[in-house]
């Protein structure tokens, strides 16, 4: 009797804690946005922004403990659904958000000093930053596929606002391109979502019966066996085109290099590090449903084709790039392509490698963007041919930039080597030998292009008279954290992270 009572109290306390955590993770950025609007002073705004992201990161770590214990959490009449896969995305969002907010203080402060932005722009930037974080945090938590679409569309709108903070021709041009292409792409994703919903409520013998919870992702996965295969096939094609546009999968990636290179650097880091993963998360959810309904071959093949195409197009674009940030943007296309390809390979090691690659890319790419932002502030250009001898001028940033570059092409002591190795080894050991061989060729092309530019920029004698020295310590702190993670994850994977990835892989294996 007493034991049962204790159990009941225990479970209700857990439920209460979980709801508190989830609600406060969602509400903190909104509160941050409101506070920024109230206090318009530069110092206060910066402190509020850093505090809110720190708090979100802290709460996410607490939630991680619950996820490791209970595997999945459903709250508020199945409105929120969290499992290990969504937890990984959530962790990445809050981590990259935290690092970017620290870096923003330094970067936007420098822009403010130089007179590129004024007080009004700064307030608008931090408002946008917080709301952007809020919309991204919603994506992995919502169970309802329709509302998830709404959240992803909201990320597009708010990031367009962030890109056009600078009133420049190029920024406006790329914001316009991004808005139009992403909105049209996401319309396709909505069509796909509606088709999946239709397949779930459709019964050939009866009239269509709309039901509220049938659009929930969990419900769709349960009923995936009884869905009409024809409709599921059509629906998944719409989904991969639609969310693929947002995830930057070729050939729908054309907005990405413009948007990523024109936005303020901390926003580029967030767009590239986590927003692409959010959209990819949408594809993965429907990939699971489609695999449950018609078997994994159909969606696997589509993922492999689109992934390989992305890596291929990105590799040749990197080779001929002249603008530093555009090169990094194409590298994001490449890495998202590798992740997509690896999910298409299937099998335990490939999916483990894919999730690890997602995490690694979300750590390395922000570092590269942060360093390139500092470098372009110092040299006042983004053209790579005009940047020489970073290591002599900015020793710490230069070395970190070099580490990031070596990590992203997949050299051994760093983290991306591990995940790329896993993906390739599983590709060669299963029956995807052709795709893996083509992937290796593309990776070699990328290696050549990237290392060439990296070496040209890092070493040599700087030509113009530029005063040597770093630009502020806060940027070095944020970049240093990322470098530490790159080295740690290159050597070994910490226990809790390993458990989390294992659980996430099991979600794919159970289908």
């Amino acid at each position: 009797m007493i034991r049962r009572l204790i159990d009941m109290i225990n479970s209700s306390i857990t439920l209460l804690l979980e709801s508190f955590l989830v609600i406060s993770i969602v509400l903190t950025p909104i509160l941050g946005g409101i506070l920024v609007t109230i206090f318009k002073k530069k110092k206060l705004v910066e402190i509020i922004s850093v505090l809110s992201t720190t708090f979100v990161l802290f709460l996410t770590f607490l939630l991680l403990l619950f996820i490791i214990d209970f595997k999945k959490i459903t709250l508020f009449n199945e409105f929120f659904y969290l499992d290990s896969l969504s937890m990984i995305i959530l962790l990445l969002i809050s981590f990259v958000g935290f690092v970017s907010s620290i870096y923003s203080v330094n970067y936007m402060g420098k822009q403010y000093q130089d007179g590129i932005v004024d007080d009004k722009h700064l307030v608008r930037y931090y408002q946008g930053f917080n709301i952007f974080l809020f919309t991204m945090l919603l994506v992995p938590m919502i169970n309802n596929a329709g509302l998830m679409w709404v959240a992803i569309e909201a990320t597009t709108l708010i990031s367009v606002l962030l890109i056009m903070i600078y009133v420049k021709e190029d920024a406006i041009r790329s914001a316009w391109k991004y808005l139009i292409i992403a909105t049209v792409g996401l319309s396709f994703a909505l069509i796909g979502t509606i088709f999946f919903y239709y397949a779930n409520i459709h019964d050939p013998l009866l009239q269509v019966q709309p039901e509220e919870d049938k659009i929930n992702w969990t419900n769709m996965l349960e009923n995936s066996k009884s869905m009409d295969p024809m409709i599921v096939k059509i629906a998944f094609i719409f989904i991969i085109i639609g969310y693929g546009t947002k995830a930057g999968i070729a050939p729908m990636h054309t907005w990405l290099p413009d948007a990523h290179s024109e936005s303020p650097t901390p926003i580029s880091a967030m767009l590239s590090g986590v927003l692409l993963n959010c959209a990819l998360y949408g594809i993965l959810r429907f990939h699971l449903i489609s695999s449950g309904s018609i078997g994994p071959e159909f969606s696997d093949n589509l993922l492999i084709i689109f992934g390989l195409l992305s890596v291929g197009i990105a590799s040749f674009s990197i080779l001929f790039q002249k603008d530093m940030k555009r090169m990094l943007a194409y590298s994001s296309v490449e890495n998202i392509g590798i992740v997509t390809l690896a999910f298409g390979f299937g099998g335990f090691i490939a999916i483990y490698g894919a999730i690890l690659h997602m995490i690694n890319h979300a750590i390395v790419k922000p570092l590269m963007f942060f360093a390139s932002g500092k470098i372009s502030q110092k040299y006042e250009t983004k053209a790579m041919s005009k940047i020489k001898g970073i290591i002599t001028i900015m020793p710490i940033t230069g070395i970190m930039f070099l580490i990031g570059g070596l990590a992203i092409v997949g050299l051994p002591p760093f983290n991306i080597f591990l995940s790329k190795f896993m993906i390739l080894s599983s590709g060669f050991s299963s029956d995807h030998i052709l795709a893996s061989s083509v992937l290796i060729i593309f990776l070699a092309v990328i290696f050549i292009g990237f290392i060439r530019n990296l070496v040209m920029m890092s070493f040599g004698k700087p030509k113009t008279q530029i005063k040597s020295g770093e630009l502020g310590y806060l940027s070095i702190v944020s970049m240093g954290m990322l470098v530490a993670f790159i080295i740690i994850l290159g050597i070994y994977i910490p226990g809790p992270l390993d458990i989390l990835i294992h659980d996430a892989v099991n979600i794919f294996q159970q289908i």
């Binding site: 329709g146 316009w176 009239q207």
Partner: protein, 225 residues
Amino acid sequence: MMYNNILIFLSGTLLIATIVLIIKREFSEWVQAYKYQTIVLSIITGVIGYITNNWEIYLAAIITFSLKAVIVPKILIKVTEKINYDFKIETKPYISTRMSLVVSTILVALSYFLTQQIHLGEDVIATSFLPVSISLLLIGLLVMIGRKIALNQIVGLLILENGLFLFALSLTHGISLIIEIGIFIDILVGIVISSILIHRIGYTFDNIDDIHQKPASIEYTEEDD
């Protein structure tokens, strides 16, 4: 089958309203045509609500009318008031008006053909409105790619959005209200943002065609050692 005639009449009216959108050349006329199209759409939504006897769809009809037929046209007209007249008239589209009329009739026929491939059963609403919604989607895309000026892409987007709304409604008989409200809010915010952008384009660019040119601000010349 008592509704059949009404349904066919309504879907025909919607198609005609869409065709009117294609043949106009000036921005204010597009907004007017879009307004009429949306009014027809909200009447259709009301009729579907009556057939399925669902109060949520009535509410969606009211929101559609008040948001898309009243607020959005007002915003668009107000924002574009100050913009140069050259930015608002389509003089040399990529696909001429006559050609796009022909192409859009082909697209309508194509969407009727495609819908017959899906087995819909005895569903009156889906059989009469699904092909129309798909043709709206395709025509929206045609408008977006076939015209030169940037405002036209907003018009294409709006047609696309209307088609999407009708598509969801006719196929599933109304997804739940909270999602529809979310979609409406997204549309409204999207329109506001694109209006801000249009406004900025108005005073940043001398010529509206500039937006399609490739960025060439950085000089990539190699320096000699």
